[in-house]
């Protein structure tokens, strides 16, 4: 793809990326355009830029993650930053330190960018108020996961050209999903028609007021959809609490070839990972020709490079 570099400063000129909430279409499009360039860089032999040379990026993960953390790590390194991974789950927090104390400790080490994941909604924003560097939300509870929404948008845009006017069905555990919330916000900003599909026990109260159509049946929810976005169902929610069993969930809500057949013939399938095969998605679909699941991972690195680059341009001492 031949993309002209966007002029800096970008439309996105914030100090932190805490969520999609409040983002404009111009800001989002600017980040996606920048990410297109990052894809090119990542596909070269020399995968390096120097916009973050000398900068320190700390991955502060209060909740375990493989793919998001390594994606940010690679993104930082490809832009020339020094990257440090802090798996807080097995250190200070276990000894009773508060989120803010941990953040202040790290802040004293003078990082430039903190990438934070926390199991509690709002914790990343709280932390951002206390530190002097830029903060990227890598997922806070069931609230937001903005870089996931951006990478999903980038993936869709590269396959469908334009997001505006597409019908996107987000399926499964909407209630506990930060991915769903960030995607609902971003896809609305970019002009898609968004649906959520799942059993009522997994649909949070008031979701219909977030700009989505609500379905409790896959056949109706997937009808004429351009994009089918599956969400992970966590094991502790499967056994009789929110849904009675894995086999019942898979029978009614697991994406297999038959259910995918309700969507448009050229519908594309996405999943933020990690997948539960045989729970929310069948292998024949996950590994099938309509699946973009592998590509989402590549777009993840590109989008995170774009976000880091955009934030770096506005660091206090830039």
């Amino acid at each position: 793809m031949n993309v002209t570099p966007p002029p800096l400063p970008l439309a996105f000129s914030r100090r932190h990326l805490l969520g999609i909430e409040g983002m404009t279409a111009e800001e989002a499009t600017g980040l996606l355009d920048l990410a297109e360039q990052a894809i090119e860089i990542s596909r070269q032999i020399e995968k390096k830029k120097s916009v973050l040379r000398g900068r320190t990026l700390i991955n502060l993960f209060f909740e375990a993650s493989t793919r998001t953390q390594s994606s940010f790590e690679l993104a930082g390194k490809r832009l020339g930053a020094d990257v440090m991974n802090m798996a807080v789950g097995n250190s200070a927090v276990k000894k009773g330190e508060t989120v803010i104390d941990t953040a202040m400790t790290l802040n004293a080490m003078r990082p430039d960018i903190l990438v934070v994941r926390h199991h509690a909604a709002g914790a990343v924003e709280l932390l951002a108020q206390k530190v002097g560097c830029s903060v990227i939300n890598a997922g806070d509870g069931a609230h937001e996961h903005p870089t996931q929404a951006l990478l999903d948008a980038l993936t869709i845009r590269r396959h469908k050209g334009d997001i505006a006017g597409l019908t996107v069905a987000i399926c499964g555990d909407i209630a506990h999903s930060r991915v769903a919330r960030s995607n609902i916000l971003l896809l609305n900003i970019l002009g898609a028609r968004v649906r959520v599909v799942g059993p009522s026990t997994l649909l949070p109260t008031g979701i219909e007021r977030m700009g989505v159509e609500v379905f409790t049946d896959m056949r109706a929810g997937l009808a004429d959809a351009d994009i089918v976005m599956m969400l992970r169902l966590q094991r502790e929610r499967m056994e009789g609490s929110y849904v009675p069993s894995i086999r019942e969930y898979f029978h009614f809500f697991g994406l297999d070839r038959e259910k995918l057949g309700y969507a448009k013939p050229d519908a594309l399938v996405m999943h933020p990972g990690p997948m539960n095969r045989g729970v929310e998605i069948d292998s024949s679909v996950a590994d099938g020709p309509q699946s973009l699941i592998g590509e989402q991972v590549e777009m993840g690195v590109a989008v995170r490079m774009a976000v880091l680059e955009a934030l770096a341009a506005h660091l206090p001492n830039a």
Partner: protein, 440 residues
Amino acid sequence: MLNAVNGGGDRPLVFENARVVDPSRNLDAPGAVIVADRRIVAAGPDAARTTRPAGAEVIDCRGAVVAPGLVDMRVFVGEPGAEHRETFASAGQAAAAGGVTTIVTMPDTDPVIDEGALVDFIGRRARDETAIRVHPVAAITKGLEGREITEFGLLREAGAVAFSDGRRTVTNAAVMRRALTYARDFGALIMHHAADPNLVGAGVMNEGEVATRLGLAGIPKEAEIVVVERDVRLAALTRGRCHIAQVSCAESLDVVRRAKAAGISITCGASINHLTLNENDIGPYRTFFKLAPPLRAEDDRLAVVEGVADGSIDVIVSSHDPQDVDTKRQAFAEAADGAVGLETMLPAALRLFHSGNIGLVTLFRALATRPAELLGLEVGRLAPGAPADLILVDLDAPWVLDPDTLRSKSKNTPFDGARFSGRVLRTLVAGRTVFKAAGP
């Protein structure tokens, strides 16, 4: 089907000189009923003028009532696990003799009906063993433990007609909320026994003077009322369909009336026992009157009768619960709850008709039409095209109940020696005679 009296019964039937009662059309009028190909062809005054099908058997009803066969939403059968108390075969014979053509079986068996394979088992056993219709209810929670909801979707596909934890109450409000929410997606009905087990505590009969004089621990009405109030709130929140299996007191009924007036999707039933008996009937510690919910005071009985009369109570159930010598020949406090009722529900209900409390159309609506509607069954009515599940009833025939003649394997009836006016002469399921009274 087995046990069909008079052979195949596929010959067309004409019931002449009948009093035809069909609540689905608010009909109570002299007329005829014509049955062919297992379905109602015509029923009512018009049917008397309709041409009879060729080769029809003509039955002169001599003014007896033809009404829809009863649909009993709360029946405990001992199978599987307690076949010494009741089997599908014995329950089916008792039902047919009592004019009950459809029974809805509770899941508290051993094993508990909480798996599709078990629902399928009930369906096959019932088909093989009985001539009446049997619809299984599956458990709301796995093992009736009140914690994890069962596979409503798969159980529905296997044939479960509704969900209930039987004799148990789902005490955890969050579990009940989730059950009602999840059931809504499948259009499933949740049927709930409303009795807070902590308020029931060690109680064994209605709390009050009678219990105090007998020296028995009481069960306050509030054990029921608080659960009904909670369920109304949860039905409003979730918009799920909630059915209170049995209301036993005036206050519960007031809660239901207000909820219905507010458009909340709640319905309720009352057992024939609570409509015709009260706590004084317990007398000298008679355990066949030990029920859950317990028999209440006469004021409450009258309130429940009024509830059926004004339609606040949707259905009448037998709450047929066979118990054997081992569980009933005990000190009152240690005896099991429950009474058989399939064979006595209709005669006992007719007491309310004879006393002038409840009209025939209203009575049969609660006994047949409304339960079929709540469960989405096409029976319970005599409208043309409906399945020919019907009964011929002599409203005035006097008789005395001898428990030894009960077809149920268990004889724990609170109507031992009771005098009744009215009995079933003939019962048809899908156009086939499955019961015919002896005698002239």
